[in-house]
């Protein structure tokens, strides 16, 4: 074979293959290096160039192995935050990681759904119900050293109503007129009208306290008053929270809690078995739990979430413009059966889009018992028996599973159902949520206290919000008892009378953990996942 190379110029070829090696090729005396040597040289050069670059492959996705302090806890989750800025990005993943851990509000909601003091040690409301006076905690500092005071409260709350915020939840702050700062430790919020719901919304992300010096670059950094600060963030991969020594309250139990985001539940559960994580939080594949149920090394907790899985019927599109057709769906869908097939029976039947941790929760599962005969009757009465409807289903596992059970139930009572699976979020948001091009759909609504959003005019459900607006406004302006009674009236009118939407079930808050892990919240009454008490025993 060497004889064959004699007439060619190997150095040319070598240069062509890998410019990086050209300088080492030396004088191009014909016939010196063989073709085989050129080939080997080129391959070696390419391989070593790549190896050099690839030695730190993955450094943008993983933290150094040695970086975690002893006692650090790692939790597996499946929905990564797109960035760290919930002022301009929606979704539950960002507040889940940051609220209560990095950012804090004046008030908080505890595991039982009760309002408790946070950055405000106490508060009072005047007779008219529009002036809330907050006494602030002393000696609170942001993680960058800035002091927390009534000026911070004024800055943070009033900023929600500026264009700096684009998250749709900012609407909850619309009735704030201004914040007064009589002294550094007293803040007075003046509302345009009395509202109890507003106080509760301060425990959600719109109540988060920011320091004016750190509101640029929120997508990649977070400066708050909470027990943790962000020590590392790898987009789509992990978020490390490190305990703050200078926290104003009781310091976090663990020196570091890392949230690791996995592409799917099976991989996350395998990581738990392999010891890479200490718990899987918010497990969305309940069928994976079976092998762990009797294993004493692991513990399963099942709490309530705020994720109501709602079967929406476009109230503005035939045949669901007719209340009888909507009632037929309410009677015709066996919700217990849907829960069994979509979520392995784990979850809660609630009958209305109100979670049990909400103050005005009421068990309405009996309002529309499963009654296929009655459903058929109603469909015949409305003259739509045998009609075909399209069911736009987001490509989420629980939604697809639920849609199949719903479709089979509806077919039995006399509606033909055509399932159309759509990519979530991109396509579903565009088609169903924004353009209202759908008849039936199903999605979990995870924001706390989202009942009135669901029932507002112009929202994709197509419900005529005017039917409950005055009841809701009166409830919000009253005292706690009137608020609860009024909101229950809203639910009865919209959900029971008008059959605006069928609430299939409440998603469970499922966690699977090593038995030695303590302090992980069981329920999630807001979207926040509070981590300050999490610790390895």
């Amino acid at each position: 074979m060497p004889t064959r190379t004699s007439g060619t110029n190997p150095a040319h070829r070598r240069r062509a293959l890998d410019p990086g090696t050209a300088s080492q090729s030396g004088p191009s005396a014909p016939g010196l290096p063989s073709r085989r040597a050129v080939l080997a040289g080129a391959v070696t050069a390419a391989a070593s160039t790549w190896l050099l670059a690839a030695c730190d492959a993955g450094h943008t996705a993983r933290d150094a192995v040695a970086a975690a302090p002893p006692g650090a806890v790692t939790l597996a989750l499946t929905a990564p935050p797109a960035n760290l800025d919930f002022t301009t990005t929606s979704g539950a993943a960002i507040p889940q990681a940051l609220m209560g851990n990095v950012y804090e509000g004046l008030v908080a909601v505890n595991d039982d759904g009760e309002l408790v003091p946070a950055l405000a040690s106490a508060w009072s409301v005047d007779e008219g119900g529009t002036r809330y006076t907050f006494e602030l905690q002393k000696g609170v500092r942001f993680s960058n050293g800035d002091e927390f005071s009534s000026a911070t409260v004024k800055f943070s709350l009033e900023r929600v109503n500026t264009d700096a915020w684009t998250n749709g939840l900012k609407a909850g702050m619309a009735l704030l007129e201004r914040v007064e700062t009589p002294d550094p430790l007293t803040a007075v919020a003046v509302l345009k009208r009395p509202s109890l719901a507003w106080l509760r919304s301060l425990a959600t992300l719109i109540g988060a306290m920011f320091t004016p010096s750190a509101v640029t670059g929120l997508k990649g950094s977070a400066v708050g008053t909470g027990p943790f600060e962000v020590s590392s963030w790898k987009p789509g991969q992990s978020l490390a929270l490190t305990r703050r020594a200078d926290y104003w309250g009781e310091p976090a139990a663990s020196p570091q809690v890392t949230l690791r985001y996995y592409a799917d539940n099976t991989t996350a559960v395998n990581a738990l078995r392999g010891g890479a994580v200490d718990a899987v939080v918010g497990l969305a594949s309940p069928e994976l739990l079976a092998p762990f149920e009797k294993n004493p090394e692991y513990r399963i907790t099942q709490g309530t979430s705020t994720g109501e899985v709602v079967l929406s019927m476009n109230n503005q599109a035939a045949p669901f413009t007719d209340v009888r057709v909507r009632q037929a769906v309410m009677y015709g869908v066996d919700r217990a059966g849907v829960l069994a097939s979509a979520y392995d029976g784990r979850g809660t039947l609630i009958g209305a889009p109100v979670p049990p941790t909400a103050p005005y929760f009421e068990d309405l599962t009996g309002a529309y018992p499963y009654n296929p005969a009655r459903a058929t009757e109603l469909l015949k009465e409305a003259g739509v028996y045998g009609t075909t409807v399209t069911f736009s289903v987001p490509d989420l596992p629980y939604a697809v599973a639920a849609s199949q059970a719903v479709a089979s139930d509806l077919t039995k009572v006399g509606l033909k159902v055509k399932i159309k699976v759509q990519e979530f979020p991109a396509v579903w948001l565009q088609e169903v949520l924004t353009a209202h091009r759908f008849q039936l759909s199903v999605i979990a609504h995870v924001e706390p206290d989202d009942l009135l959003t669901l029932l507002s005019s112009g929202y994709y459900l197509g419900y005529d919000g005017a039917r409950v607006a005055s009841i809701a406004a009166a409830a919000d302006a009253g005292d706690t008892r009137e608020y609860i009674a009024g909101m229950r009236e809203v639910v009865r009118q919209a959900i029971v009378e008008d059959a605006a939407a069928d609430t299939l079930f409440l998603l469970p808050a499922l966690s699977l953990m090593r038995a030695s892990l303590r302090g992980l919240p069981v329920n999630s009454p807001t979207t926040a996942l509070e981590l300050s008490r999490v610790v390895k025993a």
């Binding site: 293959l17 790549w50 990564p80 301009t88 929606s90 979704g91 749709g168 609407a171 395998n270």
Partner: protein
């Protein structure tokens, strides 16, 4: 200008045109696909005004020509831009995550080639015998196993049942090389299995073709043994088709690794792409797909060049091929 240089210049020009066309196609397709990045970022509670403001913030309200020009300008100076959703500079992230995927792909291809060279040759030389038949059937079966299934089965056996290797994860190699290797083994095996099966079949048929060729009979007549003749004259001819297939497989492996990455929780470029598509993060998707296209095109270019090295008959210029003959 020698024929070799002319060939290289042609190939490079072809590569540049391919990349330019690809960039236009990627850019336009992404803007025709349903789904608005601003709507995805703002989610279910967004008001139309907020969506419009976010679109403007992302720069999506400007004419396509300007958006494209800006993107290309960045690419030519080595900047992939800034992610819509995470706000991070993409250049470092895309290259790093591509390196992670190459850690899976390159060892898999090398391993698959070695296995295929041995098994394929064996199967060809033992055609009609039991062992040759078994290799052929085995490779056919393995070709039908999807990569993710191989992955899940490997995890079940080696991690969960035997406990020999970690089931998933990634450790930066310069950080801790041992744990890095331990986590590399299973995903590489899962990728290798199917590739080795495919390549084995190509090697087998290439060896069969060559072993019936006149020049090999000639070599035997000269007094070489069968294996000597195959080693000295046959292998080079076997290499040409196998090299072509390997080039194609390398590209498809890079993209196909996405499934393996998700099964084994490997932060490669495939998982980055899937995240970006879910969020309609246009700038990220454009950048990642361009890197994948560039990789494919360059691998093809390299395969072409390697083939001219392996097989002198493929050279362009009469002078060079004349000299080599």
């Amino acid at each position: 200008m020698s024929g070799l240089w002319r060939g290289i210049a042609l190939a490079v020009a072809r590569t540049a045109v391919t990349l330019l066309l690809a960039s236009v196609v990627i850019f336009v397709l992404l803007r025709l696909v349903p789904g608005d990045p601003a709507q995805v970022a703002l989610g279910v509670d967004a008001t139309p005004e907020a969506v419009a403001a976010t679109r403007a913030h992302f720069g999506l309200d400007r004419p396509w020509v300007i958006q494209y020009g800006e993107w290309m300008g960045g690419l030519l100076t080595g900047h992939f831009g800034e992610s819509f959703v995470s706000g991070q500079d993409l250049s470092a992230i895309i290259l790093d995550r591509t390196n992670v995927t190459l850690w899976l792909v390159i060892p898999s291809v090398v391993l698959a080639l070695l296995i295929a060279a041995v098994l394929g040759t064996w199967a060809a030389l033992r055609r009609g015998k039991v062992d040759g038949f078994l290799i052929t059937v085995g490779s056919q079966l393995l070709m039908a196993v999807p990569g993710f299934l191989a992955g899940v089965l490997l995890v079940l056996l080696f991690s969960l049942a035997l406990g020999w290797l970690p089931p998933s994860g990634w450790v930066v190699p310069s950080d801790a090389f041992g744990p890095f290797l331990a986590r590399l083994v299973l995903p590489v095996l899962a990728l290798t299995a199917v590739q080795a099966a495919i390549l084995t079949r190509y090697v087998r048929s290439a060896v069969l073709d060559v072993s019936g060729a006149d020049f090999l009979r000639e070599a035997r007549a000269k007094g070489l043994s069968r294996s000597e003749a195959m080693l000295r004259h046959g292998l080079r001819n076997v290499a040409v088709p196998v090299l072509t297939v390997t080039g194609v497989q390398l590209s498809s492996l890079l993209v196909g690794a996405v499934v393996i990455e998700s099964v084994f929780d490997v932060p490669g470029v495939g998982s980055l792409l899937v995240e970006a598509v879910g969020q309609r993060d246009m700038v990220s998707i454009q950048g990642i797909v361009m890197v994948l296209v560039a990789f494919t095109v360059i691998v093809n270019l390299a395969v072409d060049l390697l083939q001219t090295l392996v097989d002198p008959r493929l050279r362009v210029s009469p002078r060079v091929s004349g000299a080599a003959a």
